[in-house]
Symmetry: C2
Subunit: 454 residues, 2 copies
């Protein structure tokens, strides 16, 4: 019996090694195809340079949906379609302005209205500035806030090695700062940009108004101007006039853009790979999330180019509305639920198109271990770090509604918040090979999940 079991064990090991060899060979074919014939960089140039920034509801976003569908169709998947959903339709409405008056001197600050914020209109709002570094500090000085403009100057903590941790730590002031200031009677809010860059570009992004308080104008300010403001406030009073023009039109129609390869053995098991097609408006939405979009398209392209016939049904999804509503991801998960589709794994690329580091999974310990076993297959392409807790905004609803394990593609994070939601998130900031190596790692992982399940 013991001998029999040893024989079984040896056979299993041989089988596993052979399987790993086969996988390694196929993944190397994926890599060669993408690194030699990749189209992701050209696709990204089209999306960013011919279409540009694409807020949900904007004409650019309509153009981007048509562009996405056309590329999908050109790759000859088993199916490609637009999935309709309603999306918010916020517009910036004009050129945001902040003029600081410091004694007799005037200085124009580099600011950008936060997404979803309501504008002051042409007359603007004006007030003396009070600087705080936290909500707690705001609570302490709440009695002097009325009629003022609150300046949240909470900086990224440089000690976090991964910049997403610094972002998570700081972003509450962008999200909730305006309403918290309005609660104490402030007339406007200025938030230090969610960045650690060495330039002065302001970084927009969503805020959420608390309906209990007045919806006051709110802007993000570039880091150099934030430092200037803080320094000057130590010397004396500064008043600022803020002019912003944001407003909502009624909700409108948007679309997730979807392509599908039908599974040959388990067609009713779905695997999703996606990025979001919408973006903020100041830049071209290159790293956020043009790169995730073109990597998604590239995975389909490479599977077709290599004649790969998936066992399970693979969906390639360009989501409609990540930045200011999450309506695309929500719609996708709801329809999957209502149709009884079983989604066994979803992966999003929405942390930029930088050089690969790995993947982060939200799933069971067993699923994480299975993923980790594939590490040696991905390491040669840079995707060597496997963490827990990740995912992506657009696939979050799948995880919540049907417990689908979700993963986020994790590129290197050092440069991301230098350009996130800012005017320098443009095509030129993307490196061709870094973008392609991301697609290699994503395609390889999707291949492994398709072959072995998760």
């Amino acid at each position: 019996m013991k001998k029999f079991l040893s024989t079984i064990a040896i056979l299993l090991i041989v089988y596993t090694l052979n399987a790993q060899n086969d996988d390694s060979t196929f993944i190397s074919r994926i890599a060669d195809e993408i690194l030699v014939n990749g189209k992701a960089y050209d696709d990204l140039r089209e999306l960013t340079k011919q279409i540009g920034g694409r807020l949900s509801g904007s004409p650019q976003m309509v153009k981007a949906e048509q562009w996405g569908l056309k590329i999908f169709q050109s790759l000859n998947p088993d199916n490609a379609w637009l999935q309709e959903c309603t999306v918010p339709h916020w517009v910036r409405g004009g050129k945001d302005e902040a003029i600081a008056i410091n004694g007799r001197q005037k200085k124009s600050l580099d600011v950008i209205a936060l997404g979803n914020s309501l504008g002051s209109g042409k007359t603007g709002v004006a007030g003396n500035v009070v600087e705080v570094n936290s909500f707690e500090q705001l609570d302490v000085i709440k009695d002097i806030v009325k009629g003022k403009i609150v300046f949240y100057n909470y900086a990224f903590n440089p000690k976090f090695v991964k910049t997403f941790q610094a972002y998570s730590d700081a972003v509450r002031y962008r999200g909730g700062g305006a309403s918290q200031a309005a609660k104490y009677g402030a007339v406007g809010a200025i938030v230090r940009s969610m960045s650690e860059s060495t330039d002065n570009n302001p970084h927009t992004g969503s805020l959420r108004y608390d309906s209990a308080y007045k919806k006051i104008p709110a802007v993000a300010i570039g880091l150099k101007d934030a430092d200037w403001l803080s320094t000057e406030l130590k010397k004396g009073t500064i008043s600022i006039t803020l002019k912003t023009f944001g407003h909502f039109f009624p909700d409108t129609i948007g679309h997730n853009v979807i392509a599908e390869l039908r599974g040959s053995q388990f067609p009713n098991e779905y695997i999703d790979i996606g990025g979001h097609l919408d973006s903020w408006d100041p830049g071209e939405g290159a790293h956020d999330d043009g790169t995730g979009v073109v990597q998604t398209i590239e995975v389909l392209r490479v599977f077709k180019a290599l004649g790969y016939q998936p066992k399970r049904t693979i969906r390639f999804v360009l989501f409609a509305n990540e930045e200011n509503g999450l309506r695309g991801g929500t719609k996708y998960a709801e329809e999957a639920g209502s149709k009884g589709e079983k989604h066994i794994f979803a992966l999003e690329s929405d942390e930029g198109g930088f050089t690969p580091r790995g993947f982060s999974l939200t799933g069971s310990e067993e699923q994480y271990q299975k993923l980790k076993n594939w590490q040696p297959l991905l390491c040669p392409y840079g995707g060597c770090e496997f963490e827990t807790g990740g995912g992506g905004s657009d696939i979050g609803p799948l995880n919540r509604l049907q417990k689908t394990p979700v993963a986020g593609y994790m590129p290197d994070s050092q440069r991301y918040f230098d350009l996130h939601h800012a005017r320098n998130d443009v095509f030129e900031a993307v490196n061709k090979r870094e973008l392609e190596l991301g697609a290699v790692n994503i395609a390889a992982l999707i291949y492994l999940v398709d072959k072995y399940g998760l």
Copy 2:
């Protein structure tokens, strides 16, 4: 006895874990100090913007040596000095030109003379162009080469995931192409730039003339112009006039810039960390190797800032002449030998200042395993990959002369050859945090080698 041994084993494990905890704590202090108070980025701005490109023998290099010594002295090491050596003194001498004539049309190509090449002078050399993709192909057509200009159009192989492999594979045409062409009577050589970038910047770098053949002019050409030339050559004859002006002045004086912290327990065991201060001239020598220089300085700064008293003597070396002679590294190793210094480890940062990947060691298997055991301590800062076979040009002589184990700091390689030896190797291409994280990993490794030996 068995129980006794188990107790010993447990004690050893506890000791090791405690040591690892202590190390992890100290390395985290290194990281915090560098990420919060780091000076490497400011140092680099000075070196690149106030001094700029600095070929050995140039006035800029003299200025850089003084700058380096002054910064070292300001950090209050136990010793800081200039170590004299002779260096070659090659100058570009003028604006390199290549005018292609294609039927009746003229086109100016973006070229740069290779380092160490001798110029054509004002009259230039002219000839019809013959394109080859290898030395083997040149051998085949050797009879038609006389009087022609040989165009080596060997591209980087994109299948190599690490770009240094593609460089190693292609660089023989830059190094030896001119003499090989001259052997068959060519009047000039054009080499496809050692790059895979998406722009047209030409990339210089050393050639080596074979003294048996005529020293013909040689340039590198930008990739877009290389592709244009190749396409046009398929349609018909192209003649090119090359004008270059490179020449040598007599060897001159250069200096390695050195600082030292004396070891408290083993002062006669030396550990070296360095980068090279010289650079090519078209850009600012930012990634090659300004970043290695300022990381070296930063390691000294952080050790002093944390009050770290090394056990062994640590040398911080800014080498005088990596690019076109290696005289600095050679001098350093020779003097170490003649003084009977025992150098137990040397580390160079000369692969750019990009986000950390790890280290590569040339040493014994035992030394490699010791290094690998420290992996968990460095992984949190991105330096997770440990390879064999690496080192650095300037520390190569130490390895050859006294078998010192040598290691190369290994940042991510994807962007390096986009700017290596080209006009875009400027300060703006360096990311502050990537540069700093490099310094964190380097300082951590030097600390571990100092504490435990290698």
